[in-house]
C-alpha cells in the first residue's frame, strides 16, 4: 500500500502540472498495472493522485494563469494576479497550507460522518440540487466584475455548446443540422482549450511578468484561517453532489469569500484550495457507499475495484479501506513540503517562462490539444472544434470567459434537475 501511495503521489504531482490531464489521465495511464493489484491499493493510489494533483494544478494556475483542470479556475484567476504583482510566494504558500487544511478537514468529516452517511444522501435530492445550482448560477452572474449582460451571454453560450448533439435520455437532437460530427456534441476539452486557455494565453501575451521573488521563510498570508475553514466546509458538501463536486465548490468558496471579506484576493485562493481538496475527497463518498461514481476518474476506479472483487458499501469501506486514512497524513505532509520547497525551483521555471513565453505557450497549447485529440475517438472532430473555438476564444480575449465553462458544465445538470424537480413538486 505504501508503494502505491508513493506512485500515486508522484503521478499526481506530474499529471497535476500538465494542464488538462488531472486524475483521469493519471489513473488511465496506469490502468493495466492497477488492474493487477488489490482494491485497497487502487484506492490508495487514487487518493494520493487526488491530493497531489490538487496541490500542483494550482502551481500552473498561479504561475501561468492556466488551471491544471477546471477545479483550479478560481485559483488561476486570483493567484496569477498576485503572481503578476510579485506576491506569487504568498499565493503558493497559502495554496499549500489551505490545501492541507482542506484535506485534514475532509478526512475528519469523513470519519465523523461515515456511520450516518445515509442521512447525508437523503438531504441531496433533486430539489435541493436545483436550488444549489440556481444559487451557483446567480453567484457566477452577479459576482463578476465585467458587465452582467456579457457574463449572462457567455454563460448561455457555454450552455448552448453543451446542448449541441443528442440528448442522452430522449435522443432528441439539438443544433446538429443533420451533421454526423455535430451529433457527437462539442467536447468539453475543446471548449476548455478554445474558450478559456486560448484567451488567457492571449492575455498573458500582452502582460509583463516580473522576475519571481524567492521566499526564504514559511509564511502565511494574513487572515486566511477563516476563509480556509469556510472553503473546507463548502467544498466538502459540494463534493458530495454529482456533477457539482469540487469544481463548483472551489468557485463558490472563492466567491463567498470575495463577498464577505475585505482584501479578498489571497483569502479567496485559500478558500478555493481548501474547498478543492476537501471536495475531491468527499466526492469519494457516493462511490464508496453507494457504488455511484460521480466523476470521470471515479468511473475508472470503480471498475478497477469491482474487477478486484470489491463490493461497495459502508461496511466494506470501514473494514477494508480504513487503513488508507493512516497513510493520507504522510502523503499530505509530502505535498505540503513539496509545494513549499519546490516554489523557488518553480520560480526559476517562471523566469524561464518569461523569456520564452511564446514558445512555452505554444508548447503548452500544443500538448494539451494533442492529448485531447488523441484521447477523443474521432480525432478530426476534436481538432476542428479546438480550431474553431480557439479563433472564437481569441476574439473574446478582452472578456473573462470562465462563465462559458460554468455554463457548459452547469446547464445540462440544471435542466435535468429542474425537470425532475417540476415532476416531484407537481
Amino acid at each position: 500500500m505504501i508503494t502505491w501511495a508513493i506512485i500515486g503521489t508522484l503521478s499526481g504531482v506530474l499529471f497535476g502540472l500538465i494542464p488538462g490531464a488531472g486524475p483521469f489521465i493519471a489513473t488511465a495511464v496506469l490502468y493495466p498495472w492497477l488492474s493487477d493489484t488489490s482494491a485497497v491499493n487502487i484506492m490508495m493510489y487514487y487518493v494520493s493522485v487526488l491530493i497531489a494533483s490538487n496541490y500542483t494544478n494550482s502551481v500552473t494556475a498561479i504561475l501561468y494563469g492556466i488551471p491544471g483542470d477546471a477545479t483550479a479556475i478560481a485559483t488561476a484567476k486570483n493567484g496569477h494576479r498576485l503572481f503578476q504583482k510579485g506576491f506569487g510566494s504568498v499565493a503558493v504558500t497559502s495554496n499549500a497550507i489551505s490545501s492541507t487544511v482542506g484535506v485534514i478537514c475532509a478526512v475528519a468529516a469523513f470519519v465523523v460522518l461515515l456511520p450516518n452517511i445515509m442521512h447525508i444522501f437523503k438531504f441531496y435530492n433533486s430539489v435541493v440540487q436545483t436550488l444549489v445550482i440556481s444559487v451557483a448560477i446567480i453567484m457566477i452572474t452577479f459576482l463578476t466584475k465585467q458587465s452582467k449582460i456579457y457574463t449572462i451571454f457567455l454563460f448561455l453560450l457555454g450552455g448552448i455548446l453543451a446542448k449541441v448533439g443528442i440528448d442522452p435520455i430522449t435522443f432528441d437532437s439539438f443544433l446538429t443540422f443533420g451533421n454526423s460530427y455535430l451529433a457527437l456534441g462539442v467536447p468539453f476539452a475543446s471548449v476548455m482549450i478554445g474558450l478559456y486557455i486560448v484567451p488567457e494565453l492571449a492575455k498573458i501575451h500582452d502582460i509583463k511578468v516580473d522576475a519571481p521573488k524567492k521566499i526564504s521563510k514559511y509564511a502565511v498570508g494574513k487572515g486566511t484561517t477563516l476563509p480556509t475553514l469556510l472553503g473546507s466546509f463548502v467544498g466538502f458538501w459540494c463534493g458530495l453532489i454529482p456533477g457539482v463536486t469540487n469544481i463548483l465548490g472551489s468557485y463558490a468558496s472563492a466567491n463567498i469569500v470575495k463577498r464577505l471579506f475585505r482584501k479578498p484576493i489571497l483569502k479567496s485562493i485559500a478558500a478555493a484550495e481548501a474547498a478543492n481538496n476537501s471536495g475531491a475527497l468527499s466526492s469519494l463518498l457516493p462511490l464508496l457507499i453507494l457504488a455511484i461514481p460521480i466523476t470521470g476518474s471515479e468511473v475508472l476506479v470503480y471498475y478497477l475495484m469491482l474487477e478486484n472483487g470489491f463490493t461497495f458499501s459502508a461496511e466494506n469501506t470501514v473494514n477494508k479501506l480504513y487503513s488508507i486514512l493512516y497513510v493520507i497524513p504522510f502523503v499530505t505532509a509530502f505535498c505540503l513540503w513539496l509545494s513549499w520547497y519546490g516554489f523557488n525551483l518553480l520560480g526559476t521555471v517562471a523566469y524561464f517562462y518569461k523569456i520564452y513565453k511564446n514558445y512555452v505557450n505554444i508548447c503548452i497549447l500544443t500538448t494539451i490539444s494533442l492529448v485531447s485529440i488523441l484521447i477523443f475517438p474521432i480525432h478530426v472532430w476534436m481538432a476542428i472544434c479546438i480550431l474553431c473555438l480557439s479563433v472564437l476564444g481569441y476574439s473574446l480575449k478582452r472578456f473573462d470567459t470562465s462563465p462559458i465553462i460554468y455554463g457548459y458544465f452547469l446547464s445540462d445538470l440544471f435542466y435535468e434537475s429542474l425537470i425532475r424537480t417540476l415532476v416531484i413538486l407537481s
Binding site: M118, P168, I292, L365, T366, S369
Partner: protein
C-alpha cells in the same frame, strides 16, 4: 493569432490513428453497459469510445474503419428515428438479459399500488414508459415518472428521496436496500413484472475469427464467479445461435412503438 494557426496545422497533421478493435459504449458512464464493456476491454487490446447515447454511438461505428464491439439494447431498433447495426448469426457475440425489479419505501406489494399515485424513479425512455403504462392498467395505479438517464443515477435519486418507489435492474438491489425502509417486492425473474432488458453484444466489421475469439472470451468470463457477482440478476447467452437471434428479435418487437 499566428501561433494558434501554427499549432492547429500541427494538430491536423497528427490526427491519423487506427486501433485494432474499438469498443463503443452507447450507454452512460456509470451504467451497466459501461461495466460490461470495461470488463471485456480489460482482456483485449482496444480503443474505448464513451458515446453516451445510441445516436452518437452509431455515428462512431459508422465513421470508423476499425472492427467495433458494442452493446445494443433491443429497445432501440424499434425506434424508427434511431439507426442500429444489423444483429445476425454472424456478428452476435452474446445476449445479456437484465432482470428488473420494483422497490419502495412506501408500498410493499403490487396490490398496495391500486388506486394510488406513485412517484417512481426510473429511466426516461419510451419503452419503460410504455411498460409502466401497461402496469398502470394492470394494477390501477397512476405512475408519475421521475426521469433519470441510467441505473446509477436512478439509484442515487431514489436514495435521495426524489421518489418513493423505484423501477430498475436487479444488479442495483444491494445499493437500493442500503435504505433500511425499502422493500423490493416485485421481480421480472419471478414473473411479477413483464419487462426485462435484452441487450446484444455485437461486432461490426469484424472478421469471423475475431467474433469467435470474443465469444470464447465471454463464455469463459461469464462462467466465473466474479462475473456472476458483478452482474447478478443477469443471464448471458453466448453465440449467434438461431435461438439467441430469435430471443433478441422477440424483444425488439415487444419494444417497438
Amino acid at each position: 493569432m499566428k501561433f494558434i494557426t501554427t499549432i492547429m496545422a500541427i494538430l491536423f497533421a497528427s490526427t491519423v490513428y487506427a486501433a485494432d478493435l474499438e469498443i463503443v459504449n452507447p450507454g452512460s458512464e456509470e451504467g451497466a453497459f459501461r461495466q460490461v464493456l470495461t470488463t471485456l476491454g480489460e482482456k483485449v487490446d482496444h480503443a474505448f469510445v464513451q458515446a453516451n447515447n445510441p445516436v452518437t454511438a452509431y455515428s462512431f461505428i459508422e465513421g470508423s474503419d476499425a472492427p467495433v464491439l458494442t452493446i445494443w439494447s433491443s429497445e432501440w431498433p424499434g425506434d424508427p428515428e434511431l439507426k442500429s447495426p444489423v444483429v445476425d448469426e454472424s456478428n452476435l457475440v452474446a445476449l445479456m438479459t437484465y432482470e428488473t425489479m420494483m422497490c419502495s419505501r412506501k408500498f410493499s406489494s403490487l396490490q398496495d399500488l391500486k388506486g394510488k399515485t406513485v412517484k417512481i424513479a426510473t429511466w426516461g425512455s419510451e419503452p419503460v414508459a410504455k411498460f409502466l403504462g401497461n402496469l398502470e392498467d394492470a394494477t390501477g395505479a397512476t405512475f408519475v415518472v421521475v426521469p433519470f438517464g441510467g441505473s446509477g443515477s436512478t439509484t442515487k435519486g431514489y436514495l435521495a428521496g426524489d421518489a418513493d418507489t423505484v423501477f430498475t435492474i436487479t444488479t442495483r438491489q444491494t445499493a437500493i436496500e442500503e435504505d433500511a425502509k425499502t422493500k423490493c417486492f416485485a421481480f421480472s425473474s419471478n414473473g411479477d413484472l413483464g419487462f426485462r432488458f435484452v441487450d446484444a453484444i455485437v461486432t461490426v466489421r469484424s472478421d469471423k475469427m475475431l467474433t469467435e475469439k470474443l465469444r470464447e472470451l465471454i463464455a469463459m468470463l461469464s462462467s466465473e464467479q466474479s462475473w456472476l457477482d458483478k452482474f447478478s440478476g443477469t443471464s448471458t447467452y453466448v453465440g449467434g445461435s438461431t435461438k439467441n437471434i430469435a430471443m433478441y428479435k422477440e424483444a425488439v418487437v415487444n419494444f417497438s412503438k
